[in-house]
Structure formats: structure tokens, C-alpha cells
């Protein structure tokens, strides 16, 4: 049996949905994109062009929900399937778009450089429990205007996993779409085998910016999956109660679903979010708060009730260093999210309110992901009945270390963490250098960078990506790209 956690009764889900529908129809949404407003108007929504405001109708929301696909798959650079967003399948991806990285040597924050990003991509290519790469941080050694596309470019060159990303502007979509076409070869091939997911953020409360609306439309046109990232902040930009926050999140996400589905019925989407409670003591948005995680799990239940695959920004920490707080917040989040059955979990590596990535933390978090993936496999009998023969063998042999049953099931039944998780006895731990977690993680960082085997992406694709990126950089006055080692 797959273990499962739930927070909402079916009645509560229906009540929340009813409120969200009412909000969308009566209060409506502020939407700063003329062509999207026109499209909504054409479908019978009540639009006020002057105020850039739309009141939805129940029919249009239901129509969108009806055309929405309940599942989709994701494929790596070579076209091999890596993700199946359906049922309660769980996939992890690193927290995205950090401003800083935590430098292991100095223990201080710094702005990331191209080389840091390449190291990150090389490491991620080899982490078995993090299924996709995200454009995890912003290299600061290129023009600011290309910082969103440049991350994706480096990702595609150095790591073979699919990419969770997003644009900062309407303009960047073009080249980020062209990268994907370069990898797949044609629009049709890209539609058949999606390579990337774009995060699209409604603005709480009940607003859609020009950029986000346009991104949703552009992605839908090309069949590029989107994940809606609504961010209601409980007690600040959303009701203080968790239920009230979920109502707001539901309304904001539904409005995104309508934009996507009216543009292209069946366009792939994840019902996602990055809600948080607002900490009124520090004016911050704690991702590691237990209530934040509960809201994430509840949102997942709404999404699943609507028949959609889901996403959440969970399994990350607000701590500033790779310390016990980082571990406990990431661990609790990953565990809850996996038990809830959220399909795409964004978080590993992240610290400091989504603003700092750490390569060492990625190594630790990969183990957290591995453990939770084991957890959700639950307890299943494996040739355990009848059990008498096993015990007869045990009594006779005095151990089961090399029994047939043990050898057959050991590696599936027990999860073996990497060396970053310390399970040695004290004396051996001491003999092996008495290393603390961070140093053990850093050893892994160094090992994975040195053992990296280059991505098997073809030279043609590589050259095409470089050509596209160079042209984009030139457009913004940058004639050469930083050296790539």
C-alpha cells in the first residue's frame, strides 16, 4: 500500500472550489494583457478593457477544466522518458532562480558565475534522485537581460535531464523556445516529447501580469508544459487561515488554467504553487514553515480533485547555512509532499527563502529525495508468506546475510544512502577523518565534478545552441560569452 497523507475532506474541497469559482465570477481578476483579455471576452467573459479586468463565467472555467489533460510525460535531451506526471508519482527538481550561491570555502554568499553553473549542471547530471534540472541560479557574469535564457543554455549543454525553468520577460521566451526546438528538431517533435516546464506566476492577490499571461499563451501554443506558481501569503496578501489561503490559491490557479486551455485545449499544465505563510515578526515568507507545507499539500488535493497533475515549492529551507534547520525543513517538506503525492517537487539545494543555492546542500538533499522515494513505495510483502522457511533458515544458518531471499531483495528493500549520510561507527568515522556533514558533502561535490562525463548531446545541436545564445547576447550588447571550461 502506498502511504498517503490528506488534509482536506471531500466536502471541504467542494466548498473551497465553490468559493474560488465565486471569486473568479464576482470579483474577477486584474489582467494586464490586451490580447488575452480579448480572447476571454470572445469566450463570454465580462471584460473591462479600461480597467484591464475580467470576470470569468462558470461555463468558461468548466470548459477549461474539461479540456485539461490529466497527465503528461517529460523527456531528457536524448528523448528518453524521465517523468510520468500522473497518479501520485513523485519527481524532484532543484529550487529555481536563486540570486546567490553559498560558497563552501568562505561559508559566505556570493553571486554565482558561469563556472558555478557548469559545476551545478555536471553534478545534477549524476544525482539519481533528482529527476530534472532546474535553472537553479543566475550567473552574474553575463548581461542581466540574458540571465534567464543563459541559464537554460548552460543547462542544455552540460546536463541531460529535462529542465524546469521560466522567463523574466516576454522577449526571452523566443530564444528559450528556439533552444528546445534545436534539441528536438521540430515543433512537432517538441510537442510529442516535452523537454522543459515553464513556471508562470500569477500575482497575488488575483492578478496576472503582462509577462505571465503572455508566457502562458506562448507555452500553450507550442505545447510547452507550464506550472502555475501562485504565491498567496497567509495573513498578508491572503487570508490568515490556511483554508482561506487555499481558496485564494485555487482561484488564482484556475484563472491560469483558463488562459492556457482557451489558447490551446489540452496544453500540458501542472497545478502548482509556492504559497507561504507570512512571518509578521521578520517580514519574510518562510518556505520551511509547517503551515506553508500544509497549504502545499492541500493545494495538491484540490489539483488532484480537478484531475490535474500537481507541483509545489516544497523540500527547501530558510536557513542560511547547511545546518540542522536546513535538514529538518527540507526533510519534513520532502516527506510530507511525497506522502501527499505531489508530482513535481521544487526545492532541493535551496536556502534562505528561495534566494540561495548550495551545491553541498544538493548532495544532502539528493539523499532526502532518495529516502522519501523509498518511503512512498511503502511496505509490500516480497515472498514473505509463508514466513516459516525464512525463520527455519535463520535458525539453522544463524544469519540471513547471504540467503537467497536477502540477496534477491536487499537492494530494493533497503535504501543505501551515499557517503554524505554518516552510518559508520564512531571509531571508523574518526579514522576516516571525522568529517562533518558539509565537508562530506563537499567531497562529493568535488568527486562528481571530476567524474563527470560530457553530455552526449550531438555536435550539431551543441553548435546550434551556441549560435542561438551568441546571437541573443549580441542583441543585448554582449559580444562574447564567458569562457566555458
Amino acid at each position: 500500500m502506498r502511504p498517503k497523507v490528506k488534509f482536506l475532506t471531500e466536502q471541504l474541497i467542494m466548498d473551497i472550489l465553490a468559493e474560488a469559482f465565486e471569486i473568479l465570477c464576482k470579483l474577477g481578476v486584474e489582467l494586464h494583457n490586451k490580447s488575452v483579455l480579448e480572447m476571454l471576452s470572445d469566450h463570454g467573459c465580462n471584460v473591462d478593457m479600461g480597467k484591464m479586468h475580467v470576470n470569468f463565467t462558470e461555463e468558461v472555467i468548466n470548459k477549461a477544466l474539461k479540456s485539461a489533460e490529466g497527465e503528461f510525460k517529460l523527456y531528457d535531451i536524448h528523448g528518453n522518458q524521465t517523468h510520468d506526471f500522473s497518479g501520485d508519482n513523485v519527481h524532484f527538481t532543484p529550487g529555481s532562480a536563486a540570486l546567490n550561491i553559498l560558497d563552501h570555502e568562505t561559508k559566505k554568499l556570493r553571486k554565482p558565475l558561469t563556472q558555478d553553473y557548469i559545476d551545478y549542471a555536471k553534478i545534477l547530471n549524476q544525482l539519481p534522485y533528482i529527476a530534472s534540472q532546474s535553472t537553479a541560479f543566475i550567473p552574474s557574469d553575463v548581461a542581466a537581460q540574458i540571465s534567464d535564457s543563459y541559464r537554460m543554455f548552460l543547462s542544455l549543454l552540460y546536463c541531460e535531464k529535462p529542465v524546469v525553468t521560466g522567463t523574466f520577460t516576454i522577449e526571452s521566451f523566443e530564444v528559450m523556445k528556439d533552444f528546445q526546438l534545436a534539441v528536438r528538431g521540430s515543433e512537432k517533435a517538441l510537442k510529442e516529447k516535452p523537454l522543459a516546464i515553464f513556471s508562470c506566476c500569477p500575482t497575488s492577490p488575483l492578478k496576472f501580469s503582462d509577462v505571465t499571461s503572455q508566457n502562458v499563451v506562448d507555452c500553450a501554443k507550442y505545447g510547452i508544459p507550464v506550472e502555475f506558481i501562485s504565491m498567496p501569503l497567509s495573513g498578508f496578501m491572503a487570508p490568515v487561515t490556511l483554508t482561506g489561503t487555499v481558496i485564494q490559491h485555487t482561484a488564482e490557479t484556475l484563472s491560469g488554467i483558463v488562459i492556457s486551455q482557451l489558447t490551446n485545449p489540452g496544453a500540458p499544465m501542472l497545478y502548482g504553487g509556492s504559497p507561504a505563510i507570512f512571518d509578521v515578526r521578520y517580514e519574510t515568507t518562510p518556505m520551511g514553515a509547517i503551515e506553508t507545507m500544509m497549504i502545499d499539500c492541500a493545494n495538491n488535493e484540490i489539483g488532484k480533485y480537478l484531475g490535474l497533475p500537481t507541483q509545489a515549492y516544497i523540500s527547501l529551507s530558510d536557513s542560511k547555512q547547511l545546518d540542522a534547520q536546513a535538514g529538518l525543513e527540507t526533510g519534513i517538506g520532502a516527506t510530507l509532499a511525497a506522502l501527499a503525492g505531489i508530482n513535481n517537487l521544487s526545492g532541493p539545494g535551496m536556502l534562505d527563502f528561495e534566494s540561495c543555492q548550495s551545491l553541498e546542500k544538493l548532495i544532502v538533499d539528493n539523499e532526502i529525495c532518495g529516502m522519501t522515494l523509498r518511503l512512498v513505495q511503502g511496505i509490500e510483502p516480497k515472498e514473505d508468506f509463508p514466513s516459516l522457511p525464512h525463520f527455519e533458515e535463520l535458525l539453522q544458518e544463524q544469519h540471513l546475510l547471504i540467503s537467497k531471499h536477502s540477496r534477491k531483495y536487499l537492494r530494493d528493500e533497503h535504501y543505501f544512502p551515499g557517503t554524505v549520510i554518516d552510518r559508520a561507527n564512531r571509531a571508523r568515522w574518526q579514522e576516516e577523518g571525522a568529517l562533518f556533514l558539509e565537508d562530506r558533502a563537499n567531497n562529493e561535490v568535488k568527486r562528481l565534478i571530476s567524474e563527470y562525463t560530457p553530455s552526449e548531446i550531438s555536435d550539431d545541436i551543441r553548435n546550434e545552441l551556441v549560435k542561438l545564445m551568441e546571437a541573443e547576447a549580441k542583441r543585448y550588447g554582449q559580444d562574447t560569452l564567458p569562457e566555458r571550461l
Partner: protein, 212 residues
């Protein structure tokens, strides 16, 4: 002065209607407007600010007090204009061009208002030119800029350059904030101060305007 103490303590409890009543009473008793402001309203906000800094009270208490402060200020404003009393000072704030993150900026605005500053909020997605223009036309002493994206930080630098071009770098002080900003970045682009939260913003704007 007992009445002013009462204004201060009522303000600390966030009782806006009562603060308005007491302020009116003080005006009727011919207590100078400047006195009511400094020793009643601002005195109360200073206590609140200090308690907030020490984490003894939380943001909602501060906002309630600020609301009470406005209730009193609204009554004093006409007198200030009549008596030509200088206000705490004007601050132009906004989130820079390309950036829609305005929550932090809004909090900073509320807190500055609460501390008695005249706040001209230009909203979000504000081009560099608009900051400088507003500072000129409003005769503001401080420009406060917020950015949450790496991509939008250069706008802050542009504002500093424009101020220089207009010969305003001494008359108009600059302060920045938001997740990607830092003390180092402020130094690098020649901004006067960097504030990490709304309480700090008030402290620094007071320093910049010599109100401390």
C-alpha cells in the same frame, strides 16, 4: 504634558479613533502642532519602532499604530500648511522598471508614513527617469528604490547617474532594498544606504534626512 503622553500611549495601542479625538482636543487647547506631532504622535511611533526592533511586538501592531498616527496627522496637516511647519520630509519610493515585486516596497512605504514622512509611492515597474522627475517636482529629499530581480538592479544605478547629471546628488539622497540588493551593491553604484527591512528603512531615512 499629560495629554500628549496620552496621545502617545493611545497610539501605541493602535486606537485610531481615540488618537484622532485626543489630537483634536490638543489642537483645541492650542498646543502647537509641532509639539503634538513630536511629543505625541512621533513619540508614540518611536516607542513602537523600538519594540518592533527588539521583536517584542510584530508587524500588525506596528501597522495599527501607524494607522492611528495617520488619524492624528490628518488633523494636523492643515495646520502645518497654515503655520508653514516643515514636515519630516518627503520620500519618493517605487519598485524599479521591469520588476513587479511590490510587497516589500509597500511595507517600507507604510512604515515611513508611520514615522511621519510624506511618502510619494510611484508604484511598481518605475523607470529611472520617473524617480528623478518625481523627486524634482515633489522636492523630495530621498529616493527609495526596491528591486527583487537580478535583471532589474541596473535601473538603480541609472537613477544615481541621472541624479548626478541633474546635479541633484547632494540634494536627493538614495536608499535601496530588496532581496538581491546589499550593502556592497549600494557602495558599488554610489547609493547612500541599503536597508534590509522596513524598520531599518525608517532608521536609515531618518539618518539620511538628519531627523535622528
Amino acid at each position: 504634558m499629560e495629554l500628549l503622553d496620552r496621545i502617545s500611549s493611545t497610539l501605541q495601542k493602535g486606537e485610531d479613533e481615540q488618537v484622532a479625538e485626543l489630537t483634536k482636543q490638543a489642537i483645541d487647547e492650542n498646543i502647537p502642532a509641532q509639539d503634538i506631532l513630536d511629543n505625541g504622535l512621533i513619540a508614540g511611533m518611536n516607542v513602537i519602532g523600538e519594540q518592533f526592533r527588539k521583536h517584542e511586538i510584530f508587524l500588525p501592531e506596528v501597522l495599527l499604530a501607524a494607522k492611528a498616527m495617520y488619524a492624528g496627522m490628518d488633523l494636523l496637516k492643515p495646520l502645518f500648511i497654515k503655520e508653514k511647519v516643515p514636515t519630516q520630509g518627503k520620500v519618493v519610493i517605487g519598485t524599479v522598471h521591469g520588476d513587479l515585486h511590490d510587497l516589500g516596497k509597500n511595507l517600507v512605504g507604510i512604515m515611513l508614513k508611520g514615522a511621519g514622512f510624506d511618502v510619494i509611492d510611484l508604484g511598481k515597474d518605475v523607470p529611472a527617469e520617473k524617480f528623478v522627475e518625481a523627486a524634482k517636482t515633489e522636492d523630495a529629499g530621498v529616493i527609495g528604490m526596491s528591486a527583487l530581480l537580478t535583471t532589474t538592479m541596473p535601473v538603480m544605478k541609472k537613477v544615481v547617474e541621472l541624479l548626478k547629471e541633474n546635479g541633484l546628488e547632494d540634494a536627493v539622497k538614495t536608499i535601496i532594498g530588496g532581496a538581491p540588493a546589499s550593502e556592497d551593491f549600494a557602495d558599488e553604484i554610489g547609493v547612500n544606504a541599503y536597508g534590509f527591512d522596513a524598520g531599518k528603512a525608517v532608521e536609515l531615512v531618518k539618518e539620511l534626512t538628519g531627523k535622528k
